[in-house]
Symmetry: C2
Subunit: 127 residues, 2 copies
DNA sequence: AAAACTGTATTACTTGTGTGACACACCTTC
DNA sequence: GAAGGTGTGTCACACAAGTAATACAGTTTT
């Protein structure tokens, strides 16, 4: 079962997108494997302090992407193979790096300073 | 005058927040100095393909933060000193790095792989 | 069968964005 | 100096997206 303990909500992007991203990152991390259950709409919404419908929206999109499977009354679970996992991981990693680089360049921060900052802060962020 | 040529809209967070971030990054970069004019609501909205009111919302918030100054009929301009600039720069740099590290750790990506990815993609992203 | 869980659909409210109108400042022209 | 045009910021209202509240229907467990 995927964990949401390290879910840190962010007030800039919609919550349903953050939930989707969190699950995809969990998959990329290998924390979630094919057939794994996903938290129920209600339990996750209670944990995150949001409405069940917001979680439903996330799950619905993930279902359309073929990442989770739902059927009325039953628990939803992940349906994904190794190829998809590698693809998602590469995608998320690349996107995140590109966004970071873009932000740094907009601030005219050198490659060296960016790498140094990242390196020095690495241990401070909890896993 | 601050440039929006390298503004890359992103469909995850509200546009007005992205505009604020872009201007703050321009300030952090040193591209914008005290007294510099800021694009008019209409010209910027036309350039970005959004509504003048969306830009207005960004400028209004920046004015509340004491970063720009507006008065009816006159062009709006930036009001900021070196201390504020250093503060904004440190803030944005730290936030961006922390967000990157958090994302990487969620994907169980090692410090080495993260730095290597960033380093190898650096030259590919246009300034 | 009843209870406690599950996913789903309908509806309303809040926030973000779009459309339009207004008022003030500057600059040209008469 | 007065009149008009074009720039500027500001505001009120309408529409769309994100989120919340509630009710409904199926599955599992007891």
């Amino acid at each position: 079962m995927i964990s949401f303990d390290d879910f840190i909500p962010n007030d800039t992007s919609p919550i349903y997108l953050q939930i989707i991203l969190h699950i995809k990152r969990g998959i990329a991390a290998g924390n979630v494997v094919d057939g794994d259950e996903v938290p129920s709409r209600r339990s996750l919404s209670a944990l995150l302090g949001v409405n069940p419908n917001t979680v439903q929206k996330s799950y619905h999109i993930l279902e359309e992407e073929g990442i989770i499977f739902s059927s009325p009354g039953a628990k939803s679970c992940v349906t994904i193979d190794q190829q998809k996992i590698a693809l998602i991981r590469a995608q998320l990693l690349g996107d995140q790096a590109k966004e970071m680089i873009h932000a740094m360049k907009q601030m005219r921060i050198s490659k060296e300073e960016a790498l140094a900052t990242l390196s020095s802060l690495w241990e401070d962020i909890p896993s």
